[in-house]
Assembly symmetry: C2
Homo-oligomer: 197 residues x 2
């Protein structure tokens, strides 16, 4: 695995903490690179989610399948994003989500045990993972807010305004299930909005 593979992830981390060469070395020692084929699963319900994954190239999503068989997308991840079944990951208990590659992808994985050890040994990383968790929490709360306060059309427009790349890149049924509507309804919504302008 070449040095350059780590760079995007190290740059990401450096947005929050300063890294000396020794820190970088400590960190890269626990990173694994993995390739995924489109439609390949990274996590499946019932298995413990051992690692968090950073996307070097490609696109993934995590989703839940409820009793009626409906899919509900929890998260998308493209380049420079992390993804996992976070609930399973932090409690090291069986997952309830699928994590699936939407395209052929390349990811960097870091395992739970190693992350915890790293954080215990190096306060910089403890700080980094605190900040990331806090931002993730704030992000999730904003989503709860959108779900509660906005109509289907407003949710679509908000998301499309914020993440146009993702809207273009992921299948529409996955986007619909993220936004909390049926694929049919999203389709009608888009054609209505297109007609307006």
């Amino acid at each position: 695995m070449s040095i350059s593979d780590y760079q995007p992830l190290l740059e990401n981390i450096k947005r929050y903490i300063k890294l000396e060469p020794a820190d970088e070395q400590q960190f890269t020692a626990i990173v694994r690179k993995t390739r995924l084929k489109k439609r390949q699963f990274l996590v499946q319900p019932g298995f413990v989610c051992q690692s968090q994954s950073y996307v070097l190239k490609g696109a993934l999503r995590s989703y839940f399948v409820n009793a009626e068989g409906q899919e509900h997308t929890i998260q998308f991840a493209i380049e420079d994003w992390f993804i996992s079944d976070f609930s399973s990951y932090i409690s090291q208990s069986p997952a309830s989500l699928f994590v699936e590659a939407l395209e052929d992808s390349v990811i960097l994985q870091i395992d739970y045990e190693n992350v915890e050890q790293l954080c215990a040994n190096n306060a910089k990383f403890e700080h980094f993972f605190r900040v990331v968790a806090q931002k993730s929490f704030a992000f999730s709360q904003r989503r709860v807010l959108s779900n509660l306060g906005l109509s289907a059309e407003e949710r679509y427009l908000e998301f499309a305004g914020m993440y146009p790349q993702i809207v273009q890149r992921v299948p529409q049924y996955a986007l619909a299930s993220y936004l909390g509507m049926t694929p049919e309804f999203l389709s009608k919504l888009k054609s209505k909005l297109a007609r307006k302008s």
Copy 2:
């Protein structure tokens, strides 16, 4: 402020990290006790949320008011819970939520600057706040899931099963707005469920 006021909060922290007397002292030095009257606001939109609050006694909620004037409750907090406009708190930018006392309450407040300093000086607390943020994130993701995957009735039953104390204690319009339904609909739901049993 008497020592015993700190105890519940210290016990909470000790569930995650071990505290030496010196640690306890470092921590209690940054804690402020505040009393709130029912209907009093702790945070209001436009003002920066300076602190996180731990509930010693009473009940609070955070909520958002959208363009149409509808309220949407983001969180409830009773004894032994934290509450704030977390998004405003971590970015120290203007709040978009109200945080309001639902009863006369007593809280312990810790300010952003002091928490950051404490974490920088004492790795135990950095760890504590990481773990708390991670759990909060996982919790919030589960709520997104419930919002997406469950009907109004299912959301109510799930919440009532998980937090019966809160259902009894908070006004029904606040609960309805937390669960993503109108007060009228929640009322009909409850009477329907009561009739069944």
